[in-house]
Structures are given as C-alpha cells and as structure tokens.
C-alpha cells in the first residue's frame, strides 16, 4: 500500500514543483514620485505599444541631454511585436504607467477613465504645444460626445510634407538598369519588367531568382497584400475601408470590383510561377532573408518593413549587389488610376502620447511641461538633429550634418541610434513635420530635399537620374492633383469600441486574411468563385452593421473637425 502511494507521489510532487516555478516572477514596479515634483529630478514610467529594440534607458546622448535640461528620466517599456493585449491587461488590472502611447488602444483607456483630459493643461502650461497645434486643436479632440483631449498626436509631424516615397511598388535597381530604365506605371509594365529580367536571369549568385514576393505574415498581410489593392486602384489609405467622399458611406475596400481585378493579377502572377510560392506561409524573417540575399526582383511593401534587409545589400562591396535594392513606383491597375499616396489629408491627428490618472495633479503639470519642452525649438532640434558640434554643425547659419555622421546614419543605423538617440524620441515628442522651417530658416527635421538626396546610395542616385528625378517621390502624382480628405486618414482615427463593431470587424478580418490568400493561390478558373464567396461572407448582416457604425464615426469626425462640405 505504502509503496503504491509513493510511486505516484513522486510524479505529482515533481509536477507541482514545475508548476510552482512557472508561476514565479511577476512585476512589482511602480514609479514613486520624487519629493520635489515641481522642478527636481523625477522619473516617469512610460509605455509604448510600438516595439523599440534600441532603447537604452536614456543613457544615449540625446536622452542624457533631455534629462539634463528637464530633470525627467523615463522608465520606458516598449511592447514586443504587435502586442495588443498589454493595454487590455493594464485596463483589467487598473495599473497604468505615467505616460502612455497606446496606438490604436486609446479608446480602451478612455473607457476605463485612465487618461487625463489635457485641454486645460495645454492651455495653461504648454505654450509651445499650443502654438504648434493652433489651427488643428479640433483634430485633437476625442469624439463628438467627449470633446476632451486625451492624446497629443506625436506620431505625425505638424505641417508634414513628405519629400520621399517609401511605398508603392518596388522593383530592383539592377532590373531597371539591365532593361534600360523602362517606364513603370501600370501593373503590365511592372509585370513585363520582372518577366523579362527573370527570363534572362533565372538564378542570382547561383540561387534561384525570386521574381516577386510579398510579406503576408500576421497583420503585415494588410501592408503587403490588401493595402496595395486600393493603392493600385487610386484610393488613399483609410485602413480597411473605402469611404465615399461625398456621402461618407463606408464599406470594406475589398468589396470594390476594381480590387478584385488587382487580386486577379496576383492570382495570374502566382499561376505563372512569378509570385513566390511561399508568400503566404513565410514568416517576416524569412521574407527579409530573401530580400537581403538580393534574389528578389520585386516586392510590394512599405520601406519601413524591409529597409533592415536592404542594409546588408547597401554595405556590400560588390557593385551589382549594391544595385539589388529597390526603387519605388506609383504602379496602378491601369492608366486611369492615380496613386494617392501623397494626397493631402491635412493634419491627420491620431496616435500619440497621453498622461494617465496615475499622476497626481502636480505631476501632471510637470509631465505636460516636459512634453512642452520637447515641443520647444530647442527640444525639437535636439531630438531631430542631436547635439551641436557633435552631430551637426552650424555653418553660415545653416545646420549641417558632417559627412562621417551621415555615413554612419545611413550604413550603421542601429548602433548609431543606440549611441546617440537621434530619431528615438521623435515619436514621443510633439513635433513639426518635414519641410517646416524654424525662425532661423532651418528645417526642424533632417528630412529635407538636399538631405534626402545625400542619404541615397550611389546606385539610387544613378537610377533616379535616369528617370529625370531627384527623389522617388518625384515619380508619384503630386498632392495638388489628388484633392483633400475631410476626415484625415481613417486608419488613424480611434476605432469605435462598441462590441457590435469590434467583433464584426475581427470577423471580417478573419475572413479576408483567409480567403484572399486562398483566391490568389487557386487555379485561375476557381478565382472568381472563391472571391465572390468571400464577398458574400462579407455581406453578412453583422458586417454590414459594422460598416454603418464606421460611417457614423466618419460623419461625427467631419462634424467635430468642422471640415464638412
């Protein structure tokens, strides 16, 4: 009897020990306010829903300078990957950091009453922020019902004019060179260029050439697969929706018949063996590995998603390999559509930084003053340019970045950012966008035409010259051809929190992310059946109801901003 018992006691005990150790750990950090809240050194905790692998706890040069000037140290926590549950967990536990950049989860925090209304704080303590958003203050308000300001939109620069294109359809510079720099305007042009080069060069460096591959891993399927469908059919980015500019009626953009034709083109590419077979099964790192091998002739993506992979090619000593990076083209389904990447959406508002109820009133004032300092001319120049005499010099009243600093920035970006912190504090600071000049006639940011051209590698400069352009943006339709938007950019607006919306939206995404890859990978004859089946699923009552809720949201936004017709 005893021995029988002993036999099973051992495994049970072992299992419970394993269980115990697994439950260990946990977090128990909370920021304690320093005694001298008003001006002494103070530490604020901060959470950002974006990841940042370069954060070194403000020990970088710019960070140290910020602490020296403001007395503020940030204990920052950055999310890992596309972490969307962190904010939900904060809401559930009621424990918030002092400052928070919740991206799309703002509404969850507002609903929980976790964010501080900044209206009066800005009015009384933040002259720089007030000056910066002067005309756009309405666009900071949360909603028609709740006109508080919870978030200072720091993800976008005020008055931003983009000087370079990072999106569109990408084609390898080497392909362009070999084909004598043909015009790339429509899907046909794009396809022809890829086909021609692929026929001549079935292998690159001894490995099979990959004519076209996309990144469809997890949420990036939006960036690499579904968003290009509206880009190629002449729409600006409004997230997953097409919004009628007259009536504001919204519907999921994949329901437009034009976009079906775009996906039909991908289907054709797949069946002709031009679209990488692994497109829908590969993970992001596999995608990046392919690009950095230089074997990918074309991709359709945003530069921020793959630039990491290009660094390896740029740093190569071989001239042809250096040429295996991508150029950007405003490719559309046919000539009748215009790429709307550079449409003027006004100040889009949206993602940014907010203060939580974790802060006492005195701390709130201190925190807003901190943000206000970052918004000052001194703060902005520090954040964007770095330290004078070290990262830039002033020559004849002009800020100039020395060549060796620029080289490090271009070729050794990660180490450079970790060491200097340049560019790392931009997303948490209220700031002016590219193209805005300060009182001295210098640009606030380091992205201005001359600087951008300087930052290009030689192969890029050569290719652009062939097209008679100085930047990739020159190839795209200019803002004045494209009209304006009354609601800014819809992907940037807080999403409705109503569960009738959120559940149906998630459902629609589950359908789309499954059916579109299925349709693309199907034999051509089955494409229509699968795609139409998807549309039918997307026409279910709850999804149509969701579109109506979104329509209302857009109407309310237009009314709140006073931008209606």
């Amino acid at each position: 009897m005893v021995s029988k018992k002993a036999k099973w006691v051992a495994p049970v005990a072992l299992a419970s020990i394993v269980g115990l150790t697994a439950c260990g750990g946990g977090s128990g950090e909370s920021s304690s306010a320093a005694a001298d809240v008003e001006s002494g050194p103070i530490e604020f905790s901060m959470f950002s829903a974006d990841s940042n692998s370069n954060w070194v706890g403000m020990k970088d040069k710019v960070g140290a300078a910020i602490t020296e000037k403001t007395g503020v140290t940030l204990a920052a926590e950055y999310a890992i990957g596309g972490d969307t549950q962190k904010v939900s967990l904060m809401v559930a536990s009621g424990e918030y950091p002092d400052l928070i950049m919740p991206k799309g989860d703002t509404s969850k925090l507002v609903e929980a009453g976790a964010l501080v209304d900044l209206t009066d704080l800005i009015e009384n303590y933040a002259p720089n922020i007030k000056k910066m958003y002067a005309d756009d203050m309405n666009r900071l308000k949360y909603s028609k019902e709740d006109q508080s300001i919870y978030i200072i939109p720091t993800y976008t620069g005020v008055g931003q004019t983009s000087f370079d294109a990072g999106g569109g359809f990408e084609l390898q510079l080497e392909v362009l060179k070999e084909l004598g720099y043909p015009e790339i305007r429509t899907l046909d042009d794009y396809e022809k260029a890829i086909k021609e080069y692929y026929a001549k060069n079935p292998t690159i460096n001894g490995q099979p050439t990959i004519p076209l591959t996309l990144n469809a891993d997890d949420w990036k399927i939006m960036i690499g697969v579904t968003n290009p469908a509206f880009q190629a059919t002449g729409l600006p980015d409004n997230g997953e929706f097409y919004i009628n500019p007259e009536t504001y009626e919204s519907q999921l953009h994949y329901k437009r018949p034009e976009e079906k034709e775009y996906f039909r083109w991908l289907n054709k590419m797949y069946n002709e063996g031009l679209l990488d077979k692994e497109t829908f099964t590969q993970k992001s790192d596999q995608y990046l590995a392919k690009i950095s091998s230089g074997r990918v002739l074309g991709t359709i993506n945003q530069e921020w998603d793959y630039s990491e992979a290009e660094n390896a090619l740029k740093g190569s000593s071989d001239a042809t390999t250096q040429n295996r990076i991508f150029g950007h083209f405003p490719v559309t389904l046919s000539e009748e559509y215009k790429d709307h990447s550079f449409m003027d959406v006004g100040f889009p508002g949206g993602y940014g930084i907010g203060l939580t109820t974790n802060l006492s009133e005195a701390e709130q004032i201190r925190a807003i003053k901190f943000l206000d300092w970052l918004a000052s001319d001194e703060g902005q120049v520090l954040v964007q340019w770095g330290i004078e005499g070290e990262h830039y010099n002033v020559e004849d009243g002009k800020r100039v970045i020395p060549q060796e600093i620029q080289d490090r920035k271009t070729n050794d970006n990660v180490a450079f950012t970790k060491e200097t912190g340049i560019g790392m504090y931009t997303t948490m600071s209220p700031h002016y966008g590219d193209g805005v000049q300060d009182a001295t006639g210098n640009y606030y940011t380091t992205n201005f035409p001359e600087q951008i051209q300087n930052a290009y590698t030689q192969p890029e400069k050569d290719a652009l010259k062939e097209y008679g352009a100085t930047t990739w943006k020159d190839l795209f339709p200019a803002a004045d051809e494209l009209g304006t938007s009354a609601w800014g950019a819809a992907y940037n607006l807080p999403a409705p929190t109503d569960s009738a919306y959120t559940v149906a939206f998630q459902k629609s995404q589950d359908i789309v992310r499954k059916r579109i890859p299925e349709a693309i990978l199907a034999p051509a004859a089955q494409f229509d059946g699968i795609y139409d089946g998807m549309i039918e699923e997307l026409n279910s009552a709850d999804i149509v109801e969701m579109e109506k809720i979104f329509t209302q949201q857009i109407k309310d936004t237009v009314e709140l901003w006073g931008t209606g017709k």
């Binding site: 099973w8 051992a10 419970s16 559930a92 609903e111 077979k277 099964t281 569960s499 998630q506």
Partner: protein, 331 residues
C-alpha cells in the same frame, strides 16, 4: 469515514448511549484534533501550499462574476451591470467557437495519443540499453529540445518544411517520391499533424524522464527471478517493466486529461498562418482575440469558465473510470 455521521436515524432509542448523536460528534472531533496534534509538523509543512493554492487557485474564482456582468474596468463591483448568461448564449451561438473547440480537441487528442505513448515506449527501450554512456547520451540529446523555445522551434519547422531548400522537400524530391516540392505549411488539413509531430519531437525526451525514474524504482529481484524462469527480454518488458510503471502512467494520464482543453496556444500561434486559420485557431487564441484584445473581459471570462468546467468534468469522469477499472486514481 462517513459511517459515524450523526442524526441519521431518528427512530433510535434515545436511551442508548452508543447511539447518542452528540457522542458521535465528540468522538469524531477528538479524533481529528488528536491526529492534528500528532502530525502537527506535517500539517505545518503543508500549510504554505494550502495557502498558496487558496490564493492562486481559489481567490481568482471571484473574477468569475465578471462573466455574468457587462464588465467595465473603471467601475466598482456594485456599479457593474448584471446580464446573467448573455455572454454564454453568445459564446454558444458563435460558429468560430465550435471551430476553435474542434481544433483544440483534435490537436489535444492527437497529442495525447501520440505524445503519451511514445515517451513510454522510448523509456522502456532506453531502459533496455546496456551501454551506460550511450544511454546517457541518447537521453540528453532527446530532452534538449525541451529547453528550446517554441519561437525557435517554429522557425526550424517552417524552414525544414519550406519549398525552397527545405530538408524534407529536398529529400522527398531527391528520392523521387514527389515531383514538385509540397507546400506543407499551406495545407490546413496537415496542420494538426505538423503541430503534433513537432510537439513530440520537442517534448518526447523530457516526458521520458518521469518513466525512467519510475522504472528504476522496480525491484531488480523481479527481473532476476524472471530470467531464472526463462523470460525473454520482451516478456520482461511486458510483464515486469510495464506493470511496474502502470501507476505512474495512470496518474499522468488522468492529469493530462484534465488539461485536454488547455493546450496553450504558442505552437498554433507560431506555426500557423492566415491560410490554415481554420485548423490553427484554438480556444485560448480565440479567447485572446475575441476576448482580451477587444477589451471584452466578460466574454473572455465566459470562455475560461467553459474551459474549467469541461476540464473538471473530464478529470472526474476519467478518474472515476480508472477507480472502477484499475483501482488506481489520484483522488
């Protein structure tokens, strides 16, 4: 234990002292305190665990109330709106829930069948090995993958099954078994097998340890006696080793059944992609996406209550069956 309960029979003659209900109670009480006093150190030693279990396993049950409310984090308990079984009704009328349940059960049962048998077989085979060095070596190599995180394993598996330079496809094409590489990761109906196979690879060695430990507890005299009687090695395995670890097997089996619905989601999350969503969506992923990520705490709680209730029912059923059939159980 239950025979001494009092007041069961009201027709008893009140004069008989032995049947006095109070007497029975006193006796029982005394018995408890006496044993408690005698075994005070044992009680004292188990106390931390009782407290631990109470804090981490029973206190959170209070949170179950959330499932019956329209829970809003900012409000206090008494300000919440009570909605009864609304969230459960919604849960049970959602097709995706049944899909997730199917996938969970399928992968769980496959994992149980394969992932349970293989370590036992492996342990018995290892036990039969003579070279001590070789045995140790094999054991170490086989349990090392346990310490590799699923993120890395998922990377390895996708790379191995890749159509471009993936080892498995290269091998199959090289042997002329197939003409063209197969897109393993794009085939939904294969997803369950891929998950099960990678799980077996990762956990086989680790799960073997417990059986090996149990085998060492078998009296060597039994083997000697059987050899004298002329039992072959297979006979020894069948008649001594297996029965020797039978209790361990049943205990672990019962515990695993209790976790049938809680298979985690790392494997499915990391190995899955949009194409195989219909086969990779499991309950915990469903709870995460449709509950927590949307801030629908009540709905998420409802799912987890369903999970727990099913687990408890399964555990008791299997435990009961084992009790009846083999007289071995964990409760």
């Amino acid at each position: 234990m239950g025979t001494l309960t009092s007041g069961g029979n009201s027709n008893n003659n009140p004069g008989t002292p032995a049947k006095d209900p109070l007497a029975g109670k006193r006796f029982k009480k005394q018995g408890f305190w006496r044993t408690a006093l005698q075994q005070r150190y044992l009680y004292l030693m188990s106390l931390p665990f009782v407290i631990w279990a109470f804090i981490f396993s029973y206190l959170p049950l209070w949170g179950w109330t959330m499932a019956f409310q329209d829970f809003k984090p900012a409000k206090g308990f008494f300000e919440q709106k009570w909605v009864g079984f609304e969230h459960f009704v919604e849960l049970f009328s959602d097709d995706r829930f049944y899909l997730a349940l199917r996938n969970t059960l399928a992968m769980s049962v496959m994992g149980l069948v394969v992932g349970f048998m293989i370590p036992i077989i492996f342990a018995i085979l290892l036990n039969e090995l003579r070279g001590m060095m070789f045995k140790r070596f094999v054991q170490t190599v086989s349990y090392l993958p346990h310490f590799v995180s699923w993120v890395v394993v998922a990377g390895l598996v996708t790379k191995m099954l890749s159509t471009q330079g993936g080892a498995i496809n290269d091998l199959l094409v090289g042997l002329h078994i197939i003409n063209e590489p197969i897109q393993f990761m794009a085939k939904g109906e294969w997803f369950w097998y891929i998950v099960t196979a990678s799980d077996v690879w990762k956990e086989m060695g680790w799960n073997t340890i417990i059986y090996l430990a149990a085998i060492t507890g078998i009296d060597p005299e039994l083997y000697e006696a059987s050899r004298v009687d002329g039992a072959s090695r297979y006979r020894q395995m069948w008649h001594i080793t297996l029965p020797g670890i039978r209790t361990t097997i049943s205990v672990l089996f019962i515990m695993q059944i209790g976790h049938l619905l809680q298979i985690g989601f790392e494997k499915q999350f990391l190995l899955g992609n949009n194409l195989v969503l219909e086969y990779s969506q499991v309950l915990e992923l469903y709870a995460l996406q449709y509950g927590l990520q949307m801030g629908r705490f009540s709905y998420g709680t409802a799912i987890s209550i369903f999970n727990s209730v099913v687990s408890v029912i399964l555990l008791f059923t299997v435990n009961g069956i084992f009790k009846k059939v083999s007289k071995e159980s964990i409760m």
